[in-house]
Structure formats: structure tokens, C-alpha cells
């Protein structure tokens, strides 16, 4: 362990990569090993990333030269406090969701276990690599790994999943290509691909329209990938038709990692000076975010199916983070970063709960949820905790990030954003109390086939989700409250130090 610790930044990516390869091979040779390889790989990475976060708290920034080459020539990994934190969250969520969905995966893909787990772990590898890398082009390659595996994980679902997956692929490819083109513009002007190196060369090009274009292209690409409001059209279908096991990792992580990448690009590549002061984009972006929040909430109100409603909640949440970030004052940026963390765990918890419900009753229409509190008390309790957190009720972590965002909005004098946030909290309250009310007060619909389309198990057989799923769900719910309690520590010890002093 001692002599490996300098290699931690590489290990967090290499371990899951090798685990994915072994998983895939095991799918052909000994199928029982697949899950163990995948779980072991993700768990090791979770431990390593925790160790990395601990050491980065002392050392500020850890640099790792891949291939032993110095910065502008080779590829550099750059771990600071911020992405150390994001890495821990990624592996925590991926590991938890993997354990929770062991049984659903085994039932849906009995013959293709190796393939599914390998795609899953590769997806996580791509995301974590994007977060850790310090090279703009390497980020593109890893982005494509996580996107390709993501398209596949979504496309294997039922009903309209292949079509939704194909549309996601079109949008995702446009997004990734625009990002690549933006990097190409940067390369053409600076001749470098290393993020820090570009940032140090950039002041010479502050006036150049090519830089502005590069910035716009990169950002548009990332906005497509993170489903910011006018570019969100691919998300609801893609997310609501995919299998629970894949959505449990895709929904919490994809959009948040993209937002982190946006933060990384603006801070480390384009420098805060350029992105905030010279681009005059802040106002536009915040208004876009406001639109995202309001439209996401309104669309969510119109849905009658649980998973589909949640996808629109995600769109609104993306608006929170983008808006908070582009407000550009310290408070709001802190809120945005904190919300990446919180929202990832909240989304995990709520999708795990939804997954448990769907697994047990084979449907997610609001009609099907009647009387569920009596049948599945623990899952629904966890669901309620996640819902409270999404609404922003104090002991849970959702409250704190929202509080930072709102005070940031007030400090910036941007009341539109504040109003949008409050409106969205209100809508979330309506949404979730409606579900809780259906689940708690309405009697269970006993008529078998009363909902003819779903051939779920008869009413009496519905009971609590399997133990593994339940344990993970509870862990996620508890971590929501724990995150809420330790918010102060996270902000003062990590986030405050991670945001550049220019803001």
C-alpha cells in the first residue's frame, strides 16, 4: 500500500478498466465471477479515491505523469480537492447501485451478465477519467467511452429504448464533436492540449474571436451532454425507458460529471478571468438556467409516470447548478459545487427507490403506487427522505445547497434565479407530496388486472424489495442526512479551498 500511494491517480482509472476487461472475459468463461470482478474493481477504486481525497487535503494538488513524460508533451493527471471529492462520489454511487441492482441485472440479462457489468464498469471508468484528467483531448476520449457505453446501457431497455438510445447517440455525438472542435480551435491558437498549459498561454489571446468561438463550442457541447434546457430533448425518453440498473448510475452521474467538466473548463482552461469577466455570458446563462428550472418543473408536473417525472426533475436540477455557477459569486459557486455532490446522491436514492418499486410492482404509473407505504414501508421511507431532500427540507442535504444557491442569488441581486428556485422547490413539494399521498392514503388497488396493461404480481404478493437492494437504499438515504449534517465541514475544508480566489 505504501509504495502504491504515489500511483493512486492512475490506479483509480486503471483498476476499474482492468476489472471491466476481466468481467467481460469472465462472462464467457465463468459467469458467476462477473459480479465479483465488477464489485471488487469498483470497491477498490472507492477505497483508492478516498485515500486520494485524504492526501489531496494535505497536499493541495497531486500531479501524475502518465508514461513519465512532463506536462505539455505527455498526459498529466491533476487531482485537486474538487475532483478528489467528485471522484469519491462517482465511485460511491456506482458501487452502491451495482450492489443494489445485482438481482435485477441477473434477471434481465441472465446470458449477458459479463457484457452488462463490463459496460457498467467501463462507463464509470470513463466518467472518473474525465474528472481526473488534466489533458483536454484525453477528456474527449474518456467522454466518448462513457457516452458509448451509456448509449448501450440505455439502448438495451425495453419499449422505445433503442429509438431513444439512437436519438441520445445523435445528440451526444454532436455534443462531443462540438467539444472536440472547440479543443481544436484552442489547439490551433495555442498549440497545446494540456489544460494548465493552455491556461498559461491564454492571456495572449484574450481579444481573439477564435478563443470566444472555442469557448462557445466547448460550452455548447457540454450543455448538450448535460441536457441544459433548450438542448434537453434527448434526456426524458432515454432515461425513462432504460433498465433500472443502468439508469441508477447514468442519471445521478452523467449530468453532474458534465457540470463538473464545465466548471473545470471554465476554471482551469479558460481561466475565471476570461470566462466570467470577458465573455459577458453570465447573465444569459443564468436566464437559461432559470428557463431550465421553470420548464423542467412544469413538465414534471404534467407527467403521470414516476420515472418520467423524475427525468424532468433532473432537468430542473441541472438548471440549479448551471445557474448557480454562472452567477459567479463565491456563495453561489459554492452552492453549485455542493449541489453536484448532493444532487448525485439524491438522484441515486430516488432512482434506487423508484427502481425498487418498479421491480416489485412492474410498473411506475401513479395508479400503481396506491397503498405502497403499507406494502413496502422501508423503501417508501427512503423515497420520502430523498423527496424531502429534493424539495429542500432542513435535516437533509438538499436544503443546504439550495440555501447557498439562494443566498448566492440574493448576493448577486439576481432575483429571477431566486424566484425560480423557490418556484421549483414548491413544485417539487407538490410532486412528491402527491406521490406520498397516493402511496400513503389511497387504498391498495386490489382488483387484479384493474390496470390491465401491467401483468404484475397479484396484489397480495407485493412485499418489500430484496434485502440487498433495501440495504443500499437505506445507506443512500442515511448518507443524504449525513451529508446534510457535515455540510459545514465539506464547505470549509474542501470546497472553499477548491474555488479559485479570483471569484
Amino acid at each position: 500500500m505504501e509504495n502504491l500511494s504515489p500511483h493512486f491517480p492512475a490506479l483509480i482509472i486503471i483498476v476499474p478498466l482492468i476489472a471491466a476487461l476481466l468481467t467481460s472475459a469472465a462472462g464467457w468463461l465463468n459467469r458467476r465471477l462477473c459480479f465479483h470482478f465488477a464489485a471488487l474493481g469498483l470497491f477498490t477504486s472507492l477505497l483508492v479515491s478516498t485515500g486520494l481525497l485524504a492526501s489531496v487535503l494535505d497536499k493541495d494538488v497531486i500531479l501524475y505523469r502518465l508514461g513519465g513524460w512532463p506536462a505539455p508533451w505527455g498526459i498529466l493527471y491533476r487531482i485537486d480537492r474538487l475532483n478528489g471529492l467528485v471522484l469519491v462520489v462517482i465511485f460511491f454511487i456506482a458501487f452502491l447501485n451495482l450492489i443494489a441492482n445485482k438481482r435485477t441485472v441477473e434477471e434481465s440479462f441472465p446470458e449477458q451478465l459479463g457484457g452488462f457489468y463490463a459496460l457498467y464498469v467501463l462507463f464509470v471508468t470513463g466518467l472518473s477519467g474525465m474528472v481526473a484528467t488534466g489533458d483536454a483531448f484525453n477528456l474527449y476520449v474518456l467522454l466518448e467511452i462513457s457516452s458509448l457505453t451509456g448509449y448501450a446501457l440505455i439502448g438495451i431497455g425495453h419499449e422505445r429504448a433503442p429509438l431513444a438510445g439512437l436519438n441520445y447517440l445523435f445528440m451526444g455525438t454532436i455534443g462531443a464533436s462540438l467539444y472536440l472542435l472547440g479543443i481544436g480551435f484552442l489547439y490551433l491558437m495555442t498549440g497545446s492540449l494540456n489544460m494548465t498549459d493552455i491556461a498559461s498561454l491564454l492571456p495572449g489571446f484574450y481579444g481573439s474571436p477564435v478563443m470566444v468561438l472555442a469557448f462557445l463550442l466547448c460550452m455548447t457541447g457540454l450543455f448538450i451532454k448535460m441536457a441544459l434546457f433548450p438542448l434537453h430533448a434527448w434526456l426524458p425518453n432515454a432515461y425513462s425507458f432504460s433498465p433500472s440498473a443502468s439508469i441508477g448510475v447514468i442519471a445521478p452521474l452523467t449530468t453532474k460529471v458534465m457540470i463538473y467538466v464545465m466548471i473545470r473548463m471554465t476554471f482551469d482552461v479558460f481561466t475565471p478571468d476570461f470566462s466570467f469577466k470577458m465573455m459577458h455570458l453570465g447573465e444569459v446563462m443564468v436566464w437559461l438556467a432559470v428557463a431550465a428550472i421553470i420548464m423542467g418543473s412544469l413538465f414534471a408536473l404534467a407527467q403521470t409516470r414516476l420515472k418520467r417525472m423524475l427525468t424532468y426533475v433532473i432537468i430542473a436540477e441541472v438548471g440549479y447548478m448551471v445557474g448557480g455557477f454562472w452567477l459567479g459569486n463565491r456563495m453561489a459557486v459554492t452552492g453549485a459545487v455542493l449541489h453536484i455532490l448532493n444532487d448525485a446522491v439524491m438522484t441515486l436514492c430516488i432512482f434506487l427507490a423508484a427502481g425498487a418499486v418498479v421491480y416489485q410492482i412492474c410498473g411506475d404509473d401513479f395508479e400503481d403506487l396506491k397503498g405502497l407505504f403499507r406494502k413496502m414501508p422501508i423503501s417508501m421511507a427512503a423515497f420520502t427522505v430523498a423527496a424531502l431532500s429534493l424539495i429542500g427540507v432542513p435535516p437533509t442535504c438538499g436544503f443546504f445547497s439550495k440555501w447557498y444557491l439562494i443566498s448566492g442569488g440574493i448576493a448577486a441581486g439576481h432575483y429571477g434565479f431566486v424566484v425560480a428556485l423557490l418556484f421549483s422547490s414548491l413544485v417539487n413539494a407538490v410532486l412528491f407530496f402527491r406521490i406520498i399521498e397516493i402511496g400513503y392514503f389511497e387504498p391498495f388497488s386490489e382488483g387484479e388486472g384493474g390496470h390491465g396493461v401491467h401483468h404484475g404480481p397479484p396484489a397480495m404478493e407485493i412485499r418489500e424489495a430484496p434485502a440487498g437492494m433495501l440495504a443500499c437504499l437505506l445507506l443512500a438515504a442515511v448518507s443524504l442526512i449525513v451529508l446534510g449534517i457535515y455540510t459545514g465541514d465539506i464547505v470549509t475544508r474542501i470546497i472553499d479551498l477548491a474555488i479559485p480566489p479570483a471569484i
Partner: protein, 276 residues
Amino acid sequence: MRIIGLLIVIAFGSLLRYGVFFFPEWGDPASPPSLHVSPHYIEEAIAETAVPNLVTAVLADYRGYDTMFETTVIFAAGLACFMLLRVLQRQVPECRLYRHIPTGITLRIEKGGKLPTESGSFERIDSNWVPHDLIIKSTSRFITPFLQIFALYVIAHGHHSPGGGFQGGVILGAAVIMYAISYDLRRSIQRIGEQATAVLGSAGVLIYAGTGALCMVLGAAFLDYGALAGLLGVDPVMARSHGMLIVEIGVGIAVSAVMVWIYYNLSSAGRHDEGL
């Protein structure tokens, strides 16, 4: 949709056109990409890695980490096609078709009928008219050995001439795909099974990642082939060259196997019964 599309495209195009005004001239030796990072590669690569093909040197060494994930992307695509398309539930077809090779007559055997054994005189076919195409078969029989030799040459000679693992791997995969096209898919799968392609695909990437991890175990950074000097018995610069050869071989294996795997799944929509 058309008009909206046209508007978006025109806006996008004119934005880019505007940006082009401020680009450095094409082919300008004084433009930033030619001055900032690349001179180091051009001037030092041969001293540092002993590989005269600079593209290979940068690909497999300076930016070898990118290339590892590039191979992983291909592997992920193979996995994705497999997961999306493969139909593993075997259904027994309504009827089976056989061809009596000496006469060329097609036999149709309904469910329950006695099936002939596949041998020199009977072969199973999928649709009721699979041509016995002399032209394609003889051409592919003529070309395949050249293709395979050429593929190995391209993989192995990537240090000194254009080429490398990806190109060679694709050519090698194409040889197998050509075999599948000129005969049929089932015969190709008998020679190189699905399991073999899948396992070889992951093994190829594993060779790459394993080489990197070995360097790490030996105390250097990940993918720092210089650390292999002791194992290979050469000086660190030469070790880099040899390390690149090892990973190129891994890339070649992975790419060729995955190309064949993707072809198997795509051409038969995952049922693995019908060739072209």
C-alpha cells in the same frame, strides 16, 4: 424541421466562417501548433524512444494513455453491439435448408424430418437461395493470404513506416470478414467463434493495460516503458521502442477481434445464422 435545420446550420456555418478569418494561414510554419509542443516530438523523439515514425512514437508513448482508451473505445463498441443485438434464445426454425453440393439441389426439410449430416455432400444454408459464387470465393481465396501477411507487416513495421496496431488490426479483421462474406457466416463462426473474438478483444486491451501496470509495479509511472529495460535486457530508450511494439500487438489483437465480433453481430442482427 427543414427550415429550422437550415437556419441552425447557416448560423453555425457563418459563425465558424467568421472564426476562420482569424486563423493562422494554412501550412504556416510559424503557426502556434508548429511551434509550441510539436518541435519537441520531432527533434527529440528518436533520441528518447528510438522510433523513427513520429506518429507511432507520439501515439504509443508520449500519448500512450490516450491510445489505451482508444482501444477501449473499440472494445466498448464491440460490447455494445453484442449487448444490443445478440439474441441468445435459440429457437428451432420452422424448416431447415440444405444443399446437396454435387448437384446443387436445395432440400427443404420441415420440422421433424430427418436432417442430413453436414459433410462433403450436404451443407446447411440459411435462405433458400445462397449462391455458390465462384467469383467471390476464388478472389477471396487468392487475396486472403496476402491480406494476412500484409496485416502482420503493418502491425510489426509501424515503428519505421506508416502503420501500427489499429491499421494492421483492421486489415486482419477484414480478412476474416472477407471469409465470412465469401462463404457464409456460420462457417466463419466455426473457425473463429464468438467467444474467441470476445475474449481476444478483452485480452488485447489487457495486454496494453497490463504492460502499463507492469511498468507501475516496476516502480515507474503507468505506461513508462523505460522501466521494462531490466526485463527486456536493453537500455531504457530501446525498452521504450520494444514496449511500444508490445502494446501495438495488443492493439492489433483487440482491434481485429472486435471488428470481427461487431461484424458477426451487425450482419446477422445478432442471430449468428445468416451470412451475406
